[in-house]
Amino acid sequence: MTTLASTAHLPVGERIKRIVLPAVPFVLLLAVWGSAKFVFDIPRGILPDVISVFRVPFTLTDQYLAHTIASVQRLLLGFAVAAVSGLLVGLGAGLSRRFAEFIGPLSTFMNAISGIAWIPLAIAWFGIGTPMVVFIIWNSAFFLVLGNTILGVRLVPRVLEQGLFTLGASRFDVIRHVIFPGAMPHIVAGLRSGLGFGWRAVIAAELVGATVGLGQWIFIAQEFRRTDIIIAGAFTIGAIGLLTDRGILAPLERRTVERWGMAGRAT
């Protein structure tokens, strides 16, 4: 995909296409939603007005901000811990074959028990609230970062390492200049999917085990049939998912992986 930033030089028809085409389905969706509500007279408890959904952040500003901030804070905290711990353990495992052989199958199995499956046990351990949610995010993202880091380190060609050693580099130099950048494509991929899974896990964990947070908010809204809050919350969840991916990890990928001409594309 070519970036949208460079539209200025394109022929006019092409430029219009780039802006209009992606907008069409959104407009269509809103039109169908709006007219379906009008034509079939769907009650508010099933489907809200289009307008009312977009009004939620403005009419319920305090609640909206409180829940959103709670979720995002948990995500960032849990993800940061998962990223750092996953990277450290992953680099360790990548550098030591024995350690990797030990931790590999275990991490595969733990990955199979997804973060979401830990929610009941986490509630038993931490009770309801932030520590539980953070644990679930960590749990979802850690093994993904770990597995990908191990893989990335393993796939760094030996010759690069040997080349640096022949130049008189120390073990630390090699890790810094060869292993780490060489493993970067996989590490970034692991971080990206970790973040994606982590965010989904936040919502699931909040749904059943928190007093604030977007997941909890939309779950409670269900009891009051506030479909406007549910949809506004769901859209916010989507927007935050996209923003964290595009805003944090896609640029990281561009800075490193793509600039070095290694495989990887910001999708």
Partner: protein
């Protein structure tokens, strides 16, 4: 459109005595628009060319001069900005099974075995199973692929894959075969073998072949005629008839035959200047050397 065509051809049949050339390229121009650099690229300029039945014409030119573009236009994959291609007097506007193509990059299907790749065109034409078997067998023999019928492409060497591509195109039995640097990616030894095999295949089957290469030696070795294209925009710079019959050529002969060696030198001389020439558009080349009358 089809109406006009059939009318046209009937009129031509009654008015023109001699057969039309198999391929006639008329005042062809092609200009690309490059979205990345937002510039136009003049790839082909005023190309005129006729290819007779059963002729093997090779095209040489520096990389980027428009060879692939020319082939794509003849094949019908792209429409030229200006000009026309006539095949047996009929204008070309889309790909057809009368023109088989062997691509620059390998285009056989990884999910078909050697046998089924070669048979593909025949399957499409709904040829009877026994007939397919007969023709595939003959082609595997001619191209040295016996014993590999049940292999998948990834299990073959580069030279073998290229043989499959050639065999597949021949099996479909098109009148014309277009080849785009088919042997560029194989090692030198294998390439010579493939070239000799191709010569005997074309001599035996009498196909009309349009063969693109950037190697002058290959062009002279394989061709009845060698067309030298200029650097971009590609124009026909020279049209040289190779002085030795295709039927009795081999690489052993090639090195000993003075006429062939001289021909190589001539073409090299022409192409050498082009390789260094930058993108000078305009400026008609007056020093066209044409060995043909």
């Amino acid at each position: 459109m089809t109406q006009a065509n059939s009318n046209g051809s009937t009129i031509r049949a009654s008015t023109v005595e001699s057969e039309p050339p198999t391929i006639a390229i008329k005042s062809l121009n092609h200009v690309y628009f490059d979205y990345q650099s937002k510039k136009t690229v003049h790839a082909l300029k005023d190309v005129e060319l006729e290819i007779q039945p059963s002729e093997l014409v090779t095209v040489v030119g520096p990389s980027g001069c428009g060879k692939t573009t020319l082939l794509n236009i003849i094949a019908g994959f792209i429409k030229p900005t200006e000009g026309q291609i006539l095949v047996n007097g009929r204008p070309v506007n889309k790909p057809g099974k009368d023109r088989g193509v062997v691509f620059q990059e390998l285009a056989i299907l990884p999910w078909r075995t050697v046998y089924r790749n070669i048979a593909h065109g025949l399957e499409i034409q709904k040829v009877a199973k026994e007939e397919i078997e007969r023709r595939v067998r003959r082609l595997t023999e001619l191209t040295g692929l016996e014993g590999f019928e049940n292999h998948y492409p990834h299990q073959l060497s580069g030279g073998m894959k290229q043989r499959v591509a050639v065999a597949r195109t021949w099996a479909a039995d098109p009148e014309i075969i277009l080849m785009d640097e088919p042997f560029a990616a194989v090692d030198a030894m294998t390439r010579q073998t493939l070239q000799e095999e191709l010569l005997s295949l074309t001599v035996r089957t009498g196909k009309t072949v349009f063969f693109i290469t950037h190697s002058v030696e290959e062009a002279v070795f394989l061709g009845d005629r060698v067309i030298a294209l200029s650097a971009r925009p590609g124009r026909v710079k020279a049209d040289i008839t190779v002085p030795v019959s295709r039927a009795n050529r081999s690489w052993r002969e090639m090195s000993k035959n003075d006429a062939l060696q001289e021909c190589v030198e001539d073409v090299l001389e022409l192409v050498r200047g082009e390789a260094t020439a930058s993108d000078r558009s305009g400026g008609a080349v007056s020093a066209d050397r044409t060995h043909e009358a």
